[in-house]
């Protein structure tokens, strides 16, 4: 694959293999279901599919950037960072996957935002979606925070698994977390939801997981990308059509890759918080970036061109569905 025999005008060819990266996580359910149900295999007919499981964003982005994988399910922030840093050379967002499912969960005794003064909260990673959301929300609530950790509320960017332990141990007062961690804190550690991120966004929609591809791969193998998207759309549709079976199939996939399924109540609660949608919600991206700037963790940057939604719209059109919008940030 990735052969480039005629530099001037590469003739698009079908790739021999497609290397897909994802996380063993309920927010990556479209990937898990697509693999479990053989939806990708079916749509990628003729192209071999290999998968790679990552635990963290940086390694996935580094691998995608270097061409070690061709496409990946990932959070919007790593994708934006990579796009900005490479001046648009590294990746393209080709579809949405999951939205919603992030909450600020706190100790039960905290019932109002005002009580957060001087408390210690966790987020998954500095400058990540939830981190930015928390910081900008705190600014709206009149608190001051700094990326270094100072301010009225102390923010500890910490691994989610550690956050659970720390919270159980009473060493954290709360955390802004994606699924399934928000659910785990609520169900396993007795946390209470103080803020649901969905309430902060238009229509309660914000992107949690998106599908991205290596820019070069997209240029060389558009057919393969289209095939991938067909599988992706099928997978998202399957999730929306089979809500009852979803938990079981996802857990089977998690057992295979993560070694263990999620507890039934955790996955059930997670799935009610998450929405699966091929729309990347491009309209929220400028706001995302604004929040980051406001929170002092990102700099102003130009992300127009990050989306390449042509292929997905073609697929949606074939299926007779409505096109998704790039909100002026790329081709549709």
């Amino acid at each position: 694959n990735n052969t480039n025999k005629t530099p001037a005008a590469p003739v698009p060819v079908k790739a021999a293999t497609l290397k897909l990266g994802y996380f063993p996580n309920v927010t990556h359910a479209p990937a898990i279901v697509g693999l479990q149900e053989g939806l990708f295999a079916k749509s990628l007919d003729g192209t071999a599919l290999t998968t790679q499981v990552f635990n963290a964003g940086p390694a996935a982005i580094e691998a995608l950037s270097a061409g070690a994988i061709d496409a990946a399910y990932i959070g919007p922030n790593p994708a934006i960072n990579s796009y900005v840093k490479s001046q648009g050379e590294s990746v393209r967002i080709i579809a949405g996957a999951t939205s919603g499912g992030a909450q600020l969960v706190v100790k039960p005794e905290i019932t109002s935002p005002a009580q957060l003064k001087g408390k210690v909260l966790a987020t998954p990673q500095l400058g990540g979606t939830q981190d930015v959301a928390l910081r900008s929300w705190l600014v709206d609530q009149g608190f001051k925070t700094t990326p270094g950790g100072g301010g009225d509320v102390i923010i500890n960017p910490t691994d989610n698994a550690q956050t659970l332990k720390l919270f159980q141990d009473g060493k954290l007062d709360g955390a802004w977390l994606p699924e399934p961690w928000a659910s785990r804190l609520v169900l396993e550690a007795g946390a209470k939801v103080l803020v649901n991120e969905a309430d902060l966004w238009d229509k309660g929609e914000f992107s949690t997981t998106i599908l991205i591809v290596n820019k070069k791969f997209l240029a060389e193998h558009p057919q393969t990308v289209t095939s991938l998207l067909e599988g992706h759309v099928a997978s998202v549709n399957w999730l929306n059509d089979n809500k009852t079976q979803a938990a079981e199939v996802i857990n089977a996939g998690l057992t295979k890759t993560a070694g263990k399924p999620l507890a039934q109540n955790v996955i059930d609660r997670s799935l009610t918080e998450l929405t699966f949608n091929v729309d990347p919600l491009a309209g929220t991206f400028p706001t995302l970036l604004d929040h980051g700037v406001k929170a002092g963790v990102t700099k102003e940057a130009d992300i127009s061109g990050i989306f390449d939604l042509g292929p997905i719209n073609a697929v949606l059109k074939t299926a007779g569905k409505a096109a998704v919008s790039a909100a002026g940030l790329g081709s549709e």
Binding site: V53, A59, R184, G259
Partner: protein, 298 residues
């Protein structure tokens, strides 16, 4: 009638008083040691120590200071290990990691030894690159990951690269330290015997530095194994196999202390086994051959 007494009867001169028992016991011990074949206390003592630690752990857990899912007891871990064993995860992880660890370490040794000898023997090279190598030694494994991914993609090449970058500087430094401690008369004797630079390095310097070199290898093995664990966290499954590091990380990601502890115990077990069955015998032979075993506790 000469009475045969194997252990010496120590009587004092004028006041019948026993001579320092300590010294007597010490020399007795070191003398007896040398004679035996495989000394089973080498296995039973560490196993015993481990058992005591396990008991202490169980006791701590049974105090109930912590929630069981946060600090599982030995039995819980055993259960978790058992189920991981039953579905083959442990075997797979252990096999993958062991294979990588051994191969990576072997390559490291083969690369580091000539470099180390060269640096130890040629002052200009040592002065130029010695500090750099010490600098590389303190770079965390994760620093190599982005570069490794760029160069090798998600292949075993990446894993080995990270392992090599972890182990090689350490082995080089160990060898150099060993060479530095060679008494100068050995080199002088080599020179008198007309050894060429190569012969000096291979016939005099390397064997003379061997005890220090093996000490460096031990540290290098630890570095390579730890780097391997770090490399196995990059990505799980797929083209990169599933190793003990992946298992540990998986446990952490799930906040499942049973898996975490199972991985830790397996890694610990590998470390102990390598020490007991590889390094300890090699060191013992080396020391004995040079008459350094007397008085040593090896």
């Amino acid at each position: 009638m000469p009475e045969k007494i194997t252990a010496p009867v120590l009587k004092s001169g004028t006041p019948e008083e026993l001579r320092s028992v300590e010294a007597g016991l010490d020399s007795l011990q070191s003398d007896l040691d040398v004679r035996k074949g495989f000394d089973w206390s080498r296995v039973f003592l560490p196993v015993g120590a481990l058992a005591v630690l396990l008991l202490a752990w169980q006791f701590y857990v049974s105090l109930g200071l912590r929630r069981r899912d946060q600090v599982p007891g030995p039995l819980d871990v055993l259960g978790s290990l058992g189920s991981l064993w039953a579905d083959g995860t442990v075997q797979e992880a252990l096999g993958t990691s062991l294979q990588r660890g051994i191969l990576g370490f072997t390559i490291s040794v083969l690369v580091a030894t000539p470099i180390g000898l060269l640096l130890a023997q040629v002052q200009v090279l040592r002065r130029a690159f010695g500090p750099l190598i010490s600098g590389l030694q303190v770079l965390p494994s994760v620093a190599w990951v982005p570069a490794a991914i760029i160069w090798f993609g998600l292949t075993d090449g990446t894993v080995y690269f990270v392992v090599l970058m972890g182990a090689i500087p350490s082995i080089i430094n160990g060898l150099i330290s060993g060479v530095d401690q060679i008494p100068p008369e050995f080199r002088r004797m080599g020179q008198v015997l007309g050894a060429s630079r190569w012969e000096m390095a291979v016939r005099v310097v390397l064997p003379a530095a061997l005890p220090g070199y093996v000490a460096g290898l031990k540290q290098g093995w630890a570095f390579s194994w730890r780097s391997l664990m770090a490399a196995e966290i990059i990505a799980v499954g797929g083209t990169l196999g599933f190793g003990l590091g992946s298992m540990l990380e998986q446990g952490r990601q799930l906040a499942d202390m049973g898996i975490v502890m199972s991985a830790i115990l397996t890694i610990l077990f590998v470390g102990i086994a390598v020490e007991l069955f590889i390094f300890a015998p090699v060191e013992k032979r080396l020391l004995r051959g040079r008459g350094l075993l007397a008085g040593s506790t090896r």
